[in-house]
Amino acid sequence: MTTFNWQVVQMDRLTSDSFVITCHYTVNAVDGDYTASTYGTTSYTKVEGETYIPYADLTEAECVGWVQDSLGKDTVEASLQAQIDLLKNPVQESGVPW
């Protein structure tokens, strides 16, 4: 059973109103001794008229939710699961015959 740990490890925000424009995320997948991970960024654009959660009130869970909505939680986790499956059952190997 693979467990997935989503984290937002850093955010970039506007100095004018602290609107978050970028989330830096990592997702770590662990299945026993096998691990896989991914990292990247998602961006956000301010829409005039919309109301936003004040920066000071943001939680990691909320920001992780943004990232998951942007990337597709199932898509990312399926990709990591595929990497772990390949680690468990590799389809290629390296080496030299001498």
Binding site: V9, Q10, D12, I21, T22, C23, H24, T26, S37, T38, Y39, G40, T41, T42, S43
Partner: protein, 452 residues
């Protein structure tokens, strides 16, 4: 005295150990004593010195002998000062173990520590060399460094070990430099890939176990390919090329446009087989097969002397060609460099410009892929004379139509339709179907050619 155990308790005077002869094999313990070793003692058995001060002298080890110095201080002279140049020497060919069983702090002077030849070395300034007796930095290691459990001969960093930067605070992320020297390369090895971090512990670049590289993102994977992926949350990635610090070229993509850019005012060239096949000059003109574009020749130029089809649709429905200095606009056929025409349909046509003459050809009954010579139907010569059925319209005729099987037919219309022509020009000719007569306008009235 042999065989009698001797214990020297608290002593206030020096004991001349030189008086102990070689037969003194019984273990001797000297406790809480200030011992002045006089002459060299070469052959005592087991000797334990507890809480003693040795002011001078030399202890020589022999076979099967061991010495234990517990809480001992060794001075070079009896005044207990002047440790400079003091010497403590353990001699003996069988001294295989030196056990300094201290639990406090190992201290000493500022002199050199040299263990082994080019093995472990500390110079007088505090620089330490491992594998060298000439450290050029505070820590100079000649050889591989192994952190954590080693699974090979390479440099390895264990899961719980880190390189600690200057200042001793790993969380401060001070800069750190690894450098390969002269012909030796610098290698980093990670069995399952490498990850690189910058400020705040953010992963910025990763090389996966297959060699794919991701910057700003985990590497993308394509079976059979090695990938380089660049990601930015706002726009994407930029592959930038600089020349001596000046940005000269870039390949980047925003959310709406992918751009291959020559940043400075230099042409953009494309190669196939490492030979230039196309270029875009600084004016935006495109050259295909030529690196020499001429101003005023148009935005798309081909190599000088090229012949055959230059531009064509995939089905050759439209084909622009050049041959022997003649230009062709061809429909459903191609023209090769050797002047060979190849049908792409059951019919084809072309308009060509041949040194001032415009030639129109049509062809029918072709087989797709067959070779043929275009059949001329009409031309406009350089004088503006039009020839139909002749490649040499008469100089006196603005329109020269020739055939041995067909004639020239005038417009057919009724008398009413003829009379409805507004402002007919003198010489205008029609065939009046009501009268069944060929009629010509005289300039003032329609006249019939009565013999017809």
């Amino acid at each position: 005295m042999a065989g009698v155990p001797y214990t020297f308790g608290t002593a206030t005077t020096s004991i001349p150990l030189s008086n102990l002869d070689s037969n003194f094999v019984t273990p001797v313990t000297i406790g809480n004593a200030s011992v002045a070793l006089g002459n060299t003692i070469t052959a005592i058995g087991n000797l334990t010195l507890n809480n003693v001060t040795i002011n001078s002298g030399t202890i020589n080890a022999s076979v099967s002998e061991s010495y234990s110095l517990a809480n001992a201080v060794v001075y070079s002279n009896s005044s207990n000062v002047g440790v400079t140049n003091s010497n403590l020497t353990f001699n003996g060919s069988t001294l295989t173990t030196l056990n300094l069983a201290y639990t406090g702090t190992f201290t000493g002077g500022t002199g050199v520590i040299a263990i082994g030849t080019n093995q472990i070395y500390k110079d007088a300034t505090g620089s330490v060399g491992i594998g060298t007796a000439s450290p050029i930095t505070k820590l100079d290691v000649v050889g591989n460094i192994n952190f954590g459990p080693a699974d090979g001969s390479c440099v390895a960093v264990g899961t719980t070990n880190t390189f600690t930067p200057s200042g001793g605070n790993p969380t401060a992320y001070y800069g750190m430099t690894f450098a390969g020297f002269t012909t030796n390369s610098l290698s980093f090895s990670g069995y399952n890939g490498l990850a690189f971090y910058t400020n705040a512990g953010l992963e910025r670049m990763r090389i996966d176990s297959s060699g794919n590289v991701g910057i700003g993102t985990s590497p993308t994977t394509y079976t059979g390919y090695t990938s380089l992926a660049l990601n930015n949350a706002t726009s994407g990635g930029v592959y930038d090329i600089l020349s001596n610090g000046t940005r000269v070229a870039a390949f980047f993509s925003s959310n709406v446009t992918t751009t291959l850019a020559s940043i400075t005012s230099i042409p953009l060239a494309f190669r196939t087989g490492n030979t230039e096949a196309m270029r875009i000059d600084t004016s935006g003109n495109v050259g295909i097969g030529t690196a020499s574009l001429t101003a005023g020749y148009g935005p798309l130029q081909f190599v000088s002397g090229a012949s055959g089809s230059l531009i064509s649709t995939t089905d050759a429905g439209l084909n622009i060609a050049q041959y022997n200095g003649e230009a062709y606009l061809i429909s459903y056929a191609t023209l090769s460099a050797g002047g060979l025409w190849t049908a792409r349909s059951t019919s084809s046509s072309s308009i060509s410009s041949r040194v001032g003459t415009i030639v129109f050809t049509t062809n029918t009954g072709l087989t797709s892929g067959s070779s043929f010579s275009p059949t001329e139907r009409m031309r406009i010569d350089s004088s503006g004379n039009v020839g139909i059925g002749t490649s040499s319209p008469n100089a006196s005729a603005i329109l020269d139509a020739q055939s041995t099987t067909k004639g020239v037919r005038m417009p057919n219309m009724t008398t009413t339709q003829k009379n409805a022509i507004s402002s007919p020009a003198a010489g205008l000719m029609v065939f009046d179907t009501t009268l069944a007569k060929l009629c010509v306008y005289s300039g003032s009235a329609w006249q019939t050619i009565t013999s017809v």
